[in-house]
Symmetry: C2
Subunit: 119 residues, 2 copies
């Protein structure tokens, strides 16, 4: 099983977390992961309707910022939110952002544009 | 008095707010503004030790995202956080981010690098 690099909890930086979530697609990925323990990367990709390379870029940005953990099992990749790590580092931050995302009428119900710029 | 464009409260977007605060200098500006009602843009600029054009870019990013209000009075510009507007739009978000910024040992006490990349 190939290990992908993830920052240690104490190395997670606030500006990196904010930057990772400051994109409609990545914010949507976080919102979807919040509803489940673990999710298959391919199924999220299909649901979002984004190109594989775009999705890979977004997953990597979220992973490198410390927002999610990616686990590779054979040819499948699974991911989950680093809830406990983020809560330990920045209490309440993730939940507050996810709650804001759900109430943001300008993004909910997440009608994503065909092309997604990244920050 | 020249009026600078600011988004209406209901037009403030979560991803724009997160993007605006996902930069160490802009986050620091928000932290400093949180401690005061209103601050002179020039004095913040001096305190941060950033170039005027860099500071102007950061102020504009924060203003256009709806994080701060800029008021011009003669040759002086003053700014303040849009606390109430942000709280109305995304309850608790600003305070949670500012609290996280204060506890983030990787950024506090905000020793800024000489060159600041923007996202």
């Amino acid at each position: 099983m190939r290990q992908l690099p993830h920052p240690a909890t104490e190395a997670i930086q606030l500006t990196e977390v904010l930057r990772a979530l400051a994109d409609p697609v990545r914010l949507e990925i976080a919102v979807r992961l919040a509803a489940q323990t673990e999710q298959n990367c391919s199924s999220v990709l299909e649901e979002l309707g984004v190109h594989k390379s775009t999705a890979s870029h977004h997953y990597r940005t979220l992973r490198e910022a410390g927002v999610l953990l990616t686990r590779q099992d054979g040819r499948q990749k699974y991911m989950r939110l680093r809830r406990e790590d983020l809560d330990a580092r920045f209490p309440g931050l993730l939940d507050t952002i996810l709650r804001a995302a759900r109430t943001d009428v300008t993004t909910a119900p997440y009608t994503l544009p065909p092309a997604h710029g990244s920050v």
